[in-house]
Point group: C2
Chain length 362, copies 2
C-alpha cells in the first residue's frame, strides 16, 4: 500500500508558483521541472506526498535536489533523472534503500526535483523541507544546522557520472566538494544528501512547506481568476506583511564568488510615495531597508511580487520600472534559533546587521 | 606467508634517486616520501615487493598515489596515510579487499607513495607501474590506455575527507573529477584507482619498473663512490643514449592550465660545442631538439642529469649555468603502440611533431 496522497497534474503549476514565491528571488525557476514532472504523470508515474505526521521514526529519508548555477538550469536542459541517479548511487554506497524523499529547499526549482526523483523511485516525498525557502548553500538547511551527519552524499549528471562524497569533515566541506563536482558536471547536477532517520527529521525539518507552497500557488491562481488582490492572499496564507509598494528604480548586479550579488532600489507608490526601499541581494533577497531603516532580514522571506498578479520576480529578472509589492513572510521558528541564525542570519551572509523580526500591525 | 621480498631501509634512498631520474624533470620529489617510508620501516612496518612474475590472475590490484600540484607536496607535509585511506574508502565502496598495490607512475614521488600505503595495509607492491616514467595526468597510464574500467576510484586527504568517484564516463572524466577534488583537498590528496585483476595487469602494466628505479639509483650511487661516470651507468641500466652535453643558457616557464610549461635551452660543451639543444617542457621534459632537429620525443624519457653526479634535475629546479647531460631512455614498447601514442605521444601534448624513436649508435 503506497503511502501518502497523490499529487495531480493540476497541482503542479500551483506548486511551482508557490515555490517561486518562497524562492524570494532565487532558488532557480521551477517551471521546467514542473513540465518534466507533468510529463511523468502523463506517462503513468505517480507522485505521492507523505504528510509530515505520517513520518515514522525508522523512515530512511534522503533529500535530493539540483546543485549548480540556477542560470545554467535554464540553458542546459537536464535529462531529468539526475537526482534519481544520485539517490541510487547513494543507496548503493550505503547498502540501504530510502523509504521517502524530502526537498532540501522548497523555494524555487528544488521544490520540484524531489517529485521527479520520487516518480522514478516510487517513493513518497515528505511534506517538509530544510529551509522553508531558498538559500544558496547546502549547509544552510535545518538538517545540518541541527546536526545531520554530513556524509555520505552523492552527485550524478546526465552524462552517466556519479560521485560519492564518502566521508567529509563537516557540512562546509560537503558544500565545497559538492560545488566543485557540480561545476565539473557542467554546473548542474543531481545531489542526494546523507540519509536521515524519520525521528531526526521530526525535530529538524521545516514541516508542511510543500503543502504551503501548493496552497500559496492555488490562492494566487484563485485570486487572479476572481479578480481579488493576489498579494493579499499570499500574506494571508503565509502570515506575512506588506513591507513596501513601489517601482524599481535601480538594479545593481555583480557576480562574486559564484553568487549574484547586488541591490534593488524602489521608489514608493500609493501609501509609500516619498519613501524608498533598498534590498540587498545574494542570489536571494536578504535585507530590506525602508528609508535607511532595516525592516526585514534573512532568514525571514523577502519577496518581490508583481503588484497586479503577485507573480514572483526573481533577482535575475527584475528590471527598472517593475511595479511590485515587497512582502515579508516569517521564517519558521526552527530557522530563528541561535544555532540557526549563526548559519542563516544576516551575519552569516556578511552583513553587519542584527536579525530583526518582522513587525505586524495588530 | 607474506608474498614478495622485503625492501630494506638502505634500498629506499637508491629507489628515490632512480625514481627521480625516471621522473624526467617532473613527477614530484620522492625525497619526503622516502623519509616517511624509512620511518615506517624503523617503526617495524614491512614493505614488500611482489615480483611481476608472481602476479596471479585473480589478484586484486589497486594503484595508489598522490594527486595534486607537485610544488604543494613540498610545502604541505602530508600526514602520510592519505593513499591508505583512499584505498580503504575504495575497498569499503566495492566491498572487496586489494591483494596488492601498484604505482601508477614510477617516476618521481609516486614511486614511493604506494610503498607507504603498502606498509600501512600489509600488502605487497607489484614490481611494475602504469607509465615507466612520470606523466601529468591519470589517463596517461597503460592501465587506462589498454581499457581499465575508469571507476570506482577514491580520494582522501589528511583532514578526514574521502570522496568516491562511483561511476565516471571515461578516463578523462576520472582525471577531471579527481583533479577538482584534489584541489579542494588542498591541492594534494591520496588517490586510489579502480581495482584491476592480475590477469589484466600482466598484459597492461609496465613491468619491472620498481626494480629498474632501484637499480638505476644503486648504480649511480656506486659510480659516485667508485668515481666512475654515473651518467654512463644510467645509460647502461636503462638502455639509453646520451643526447647532448651542455650548459643551461635559458629557461622559460609559465603556468598554463595548472601545468608548468616552458622550455630549456642549452649550449653544447665538449663534443657538442657549437650546437644547441632546446627542450620543451610540460611538467616533464617532452621534446628535445638538437640544432632545430627533433632527436627525442615523449613517451621516450628525456632526463637532465648533472654532468658530474648524474643527479636528476627537475624542470622546477633547473637554472642558468647548470652543466648537464641530456639523456634519452627508451619508453617501454607498451607505451609506443598506436593506442598508446594517441594518449601519450607528442600530439597528445599539443605538439605538431611525430613520435621519433631514439637513435642509438651500433
Amino acid at each position: 500500500m503506497p503511502r501518502g496522497w497523490r499529487l495531480e497534474a493540476s497541482d503542479l503549476e500551483a506548486l511551482a508558483l508557490g515555490a517561486a514565491i518562497l524562492g524570494t528571488g532565487g532558488g532557480g525557476n521551477p517551471y521546467l521541472g514542473m513540465l518534466r514532472a507533468r510529463e511523468l504523470l502523463r506517462k503513468g508515474h505517480e507522485i505521492r506526498v507523505l504528510p509530515f505526521e505520517e513520518l515514522r521514526d525508522d523512515d530512511v529519508v534522503v533529500s535530493v535536489g539540483g546543485i549548480g548555477a540556477p542560470v545554467v538550469g535554464i540553458e542546459k536542459i537536464e535529462k531529468g533523472d539526475e537526482c534519481f541517479r544520485a539517490l541510487r548511487a547513494l543507496e548503493d554506497f550505503t547498502g540501504t534503500r530510502a523509504t521517502a524523499l524530502v526537498a532540501a529547499e522548497v523555494g524555487g526549482s528544488n521544490s520540484i526535483e524531489p517529485l521527479i526523483a520520487a516518480a522514478y523511485a516510487g517513493l513518497p516525498v515528505l511534506d517538509a523541507d530544510g529551509m522553508g525557502r531558498a538559500f544558496p548553500e547546502v549547509q544552510m538547511t535545518s538538517f545540518f544546522i541541527y546536526g545531520a551527519r554530513p556524509y555520505p552524499a552523492a552527485l550524478a549528471d546526465e552524462k552517466g557520472n556519479a560521485v560519492v562524497l564518502a566521508e567529509v569533515k563537516d557540512m562546509y566541506w560537503l558544500e565545497r566538494f559538492a560545488r566543485s563536482v557540480a561545476i565539473d558536471m557542467g554546473a548542474a547536477a543531481g545531489f542526494a544528501l546523507p540519509p536521515m532517520r524519520g525521528e531526526f527529521l521530526k525535530f529538524c525539518a521545516i514541516p508542511h512547506t510543500l503543502t504551503q507552497a501548493l496552497e500559496l500557488g492555488q490562492e494566487v491562481q484563485r485570486a487572479r481568476v476572481l479578480r481579488e488582490d493576489p498579494v493579499a492572499r499570499v500574506l494571508e496564507v503565509a502570515g506575512g506583511v506588506r513591507l513596501f509598494v513601489g517601482k524599481v528604480v535601480d538594479v545593481a548586479r555583480r557576480i562574486e564568488g559564484g553568487f549574484a550579488r547586488g541591490h534593488i532600489r524602489l521608489a514608493g507608490l500609493d501609501a509609500d510615495r516619498g519613501s524608498t526601499m533598498e534590498i540587498e541581494v545574494q542570489n536571494e533577497n536578504l535585507i530590506a531597508r525602508r528609508d535607511g531603516e532595516v525592516v526585514a532580514t534573512v532568514p525571514d522571506l523577502i519577496a518581490l511580487l508583481d503588484l497586479e498578479t503577485a507573480e514572483p520576480i526573481t533577482t535575475e529578472a527584475v528590471r527598472y520600472g517593475f511595479r511590485v509589492a515587497v512582502v515579508g513572510l516569517p521564517a519558521h521558528p526552527r530557522l530563528k534559533t541561535k544555532e540557526a541564525l549563526a548559519v542563516v542570519g544576516p551575519a552569516a551572509f556578511g552583513y553587519d546587521v542584527a536579525y530583526r523580526p518582522l513587525l505586524r500591525e495588530v
